[in-house]
């Protein structure tokens, strides 16, 4: 705990100094969000002072390896973790001018599924196996819109149709295990869209699906985003997906946003060593088959032993003593492109050579 707090304090103050007052127009404005879990061996920081804002209708991608805190961050926004773990939040999450972290549990429930919805990674396990899908879609309508059973079912049918499920009249009575993975994910999306939310958080919605289905689902999300004008926070580890649909990207590592920029710049000009590593590890159809696929050395350290200084230090080929002792601030490299790295200028200019990995 104690070793964590200076870092988060730092990032928080830097964020404060950057934008003095809250942005009234923003759909979502996250400021210095920090999420900690109490564990048997003390508190663990999973999200460390994250700040970003998104406008209505925007699709923002969050990328990073598994374990980097993407899911925790997204679930922190709608406080899904309240129930499962001993969790504490710091910072602020503003949704259209309302601060979520300080809402009472009952007010918070009125936000969930209503103004903000979520779609999860594995559709089969994310649906309750014991209820027909129609009921599961109708459930949030009955909860938030106070619809009668009949009205809710009618609306559910409409939603199913909108998500493009074939013969929805028949499917509506079926159980999750009777549907294919793609259809299940469409059902998940129908559930999420039931109350026409302002914000959809999609947590790796395509990871568990076949490639062809993936494309269909992505298309659906983009189409619905356009039609309904909702913001989409798209969490993925797949940079290819990001490039297809997102307007801008945040790269996360160990609970922090280490780099954020527009999608175009992501591929053209990644500055953070971690982002560079991610991009180089994408297999390319047009690439040289004989070239070995790049792998980022090492693995993501566990949250319990996050390094001091720069969080990427254990795997960064450019790291030095300064990286190990001091955490770099989130600096603006260019308009709309910020990152956390002491040496990104040197790396960009080629002045800094990659050293041996680790020590």
């Amino acid at each position: 705990m104690s070793q964590m707090s200076p870092a988060s304090e730092k990032s928080r103050t830097s964020q404060m100094s950057r934008s003095g007052q809250k942005d009234r127009t923003a759909l979502l404005d996250v400021r210095g969000l920090t999420t900690r879990f109490a564990t048997e061996r003390g508190p663990v920081t999973a999200v460390d002072g994250i700040s970003f804002a998104m406008e209505p209708g925007e699709i923002i991608g969050i990328v990073g390896e598994s374990g980097c805190g993407k899911s925790v961050m997204s679930q922190s926004i709608i406080r899904l973790l309240d129930y499962t773990d001993h969790v504490s939040y710091e910072g602020e999450v503003w949704l259209s001018g309302e601060e979520l972290l300080r809402l009472s549990p009952s007010r918070m429930r009125k936000v969930r599924g209503n103004r903000v919805s979520m779609v999860f990674q594995d559709p089969l396990t994310s649906l309750d196996p014991l209820y027909p899908i129609g009921d599961q879609i109708a459930e949030s309508l009955r909860q938030h819109r106070r619809l009668s059973r009949k009205e809710a079912q009618a609306r559910a049918l409409e939603l199913l149709r909108m998500t493009g499920i074939p013969s929805p009249e028949q499917r509506i009575k079926e159980y999750p295990h009777q549907l294919s993975g793609g259809m299940q994910q469409r059902v998940m999306i129908a559930i999420a869209l039931a109350c026409e939310p302002q914000l959809l958080i999609a947590d790796e919605p395509t990871t568990a699906l076949d490639v062809t289905i993936q494309a269909q689902i992505l298309e659906l999300i983009v189409e619905l985003n356009r039609r309904l004008g909702m913001g989409v926070l798209f969490i993925t580890h797949d940079l290819g997906v990001v490039s297809e649909i997102c307007t801008s990207v945040k790269v996360m590592y160990l609970g922090q946003i280490v780099e954020e920029m527009t999608t175009a710049r992501l591929f053209a000009n990644p500055l953070h060593p971690y982002t560079q590593g991610l991009i180089r590890s994408i297999p390319r159809l047009d690439g040289d088959r004989r070239r070995k696929l790049h792998v980022i050395e090492g693995t993501v350290p566990s949250l319990a032993d996050r390094p001091e200084g720069c969080k990427f230090v254990t795997r960064c080929p450019y790291a030095d003593a300064k990286c190990r002792s001091e955490e770099p601030p989130l600096e603006t490299a260019e308009e709309g492109h910020r990152l956390k790295c002491w040496y990104y200028r040197e790396i960009r200019s080629g002045a800094r050579e990659a050293t041996q990995y680790g020590e």
């Binding site: 679930q75 709608i78 899904l80 129930y83 499962t84 429930r109 009125k110 936000v111 969930r112 599924g113 209503n114 919805s117 979520m118 999860f120 990674q121 594995d122 396990t125 994310s126 649906l127 309750d128 196996p129 014991l130 209820y131 459930e139 949030s140 909860q143 938030h144 159980y175 295990h177 009777q178 998940m188 559930i191 999420a192």
Partner: protein
């Protein structure tokens, strides 16, 4: 469905055969005979012999067994040697009190165990959870008859709140009926409660970690709905299994609890019948109880389908 039932019933045949033969042999090598209870201490050997002959106990055991099985196929369990009524009638008259007792015990067990089990799982490692875990551990270690004695001592003898024993049929009024069943119900229900509580807790814990719980919560449902409508139903199959098992052991438990609290149920009937060497009743009760046990298991199996559509479809 029917085929499934038929298969289940057929698989029962060898089990029943083993049980009935074992019962038959066991009771016929028990020393003493029905004459003791019927004729009393003064009976002469010739009186006893005459009685045994009249009842057909002088014939070989195998022949008696075959006659009895033959009777079964005609739906005839024989006549009680002591009660002067058909065994079927004796059993059905005694099933009522046992059924009432079992229901009270199970209701007490479920009312206690399911909510506490759910809360313990929900507030895992909290003080409540610790309490629930300790309760279920102690609950499993206190045998029903001991609990019955303690309840008699404190609630009946010291506090005079409830009658310490006895029974009144439902016809005498609802309170008259149930006030006799509360202490026996608690005595019998506690162990069931402990077992069900333990299972509810662990099964809920497992379900609460599943993904769809997050989905349900992300819809903004109230926690009560999350827990009861979604988590509990998903956690219910193992709980149901334990409930089925405990319902089965309720009959066994009733044997002791009914004798302690003097409830004229099937347990008391069989204990009395063993003492009276009322062979036909013993056979009838053992058969009935076994069938009941199987029936309960069958009902539980069918309930699985009602709880979980996947089970239903798999069977088609």
């Amino acid at each position: 469905m029917l085929a499934y039932l038929a298969k289940r019933l057929l698989s029962l045949v060898p089990v029943l055969l083993v049980i009935t033969i074992a019962t038959f042999m066991l009771i016929h090598i028990m020393p003493g005979g029905p004459a003791a209870a019927i004729l009393g201490l003064e009976a002469t050997q010739s009186d006893t012999d005459a009685l045994n002959e009249a009842m057909g106990f002088d014939r070989p055991i195998a022949e008696q067994y075959i006659n009895w099985i033959g009777g079964l196929f005609r739906g005839d369990l024989g006549d009680s040697l002591f009660l002067h009524q058909p065994v079927g009638q004796a059993i059905s008259e005694h099933l009522g009190p046992t059924f009432s007792l079992a229901v009270v015990a199970e209701v007490i067990a479920l009312l206690l165990a399911i909510p506490l089990g759910i809360l313990a799982a929900y507030k895992r490692d909290s003080a409540l959870d610790q309490l629930v875990r300790s309760l279920s551990l102690v609950g499993m270690a206190v045998p029903g008859f001991l609990l019955a004695l303690f309840l008699m001592l404190f609630v009946g003898v010291r506090l005079h709140w409830l009658p310490i024993a006895g029974y009144a049929p439902l016809a005498d009024g609802v309170w008259a009926h149930y006030r006799y069943l509360i202490l026996p119900g608690i005595s019998l229900g506690t162990i069931q409660a402990a077992l069900i509580m333990r299972m509810t807790r662990s099964s809920m814990l497992e379900v609460l970690h599943l993904n769809f719980i997050k989905t349900v919560r992300s819809k903004g449902l109230r926690e009560s709905k999350v827990l009861l409508k979604h988590a509990l139903r998903n956690a219910f199959i193992p709980i149901l299994t334990v409930i089925g098992q405990t319902f089965g052991t309720l009959v066994t438990g009733a044997v002791i609890i009914e004798t302690i609290f003097n409830i004229p149920g099937i347990g008391q009937l069989v204990i009395n019948s063993i003492e009276r060497r009322d062979y036909t009743v013993i056979q009838g009760v053992v058969l009935t109880v076994t069938l009941l046990y199987v029936l309960i298991n069958l009902i539980v199996d069918l309930l699985y389908g009602a709880v979980d559509p996947r089970v239903r479809l798999d069977r088609k």
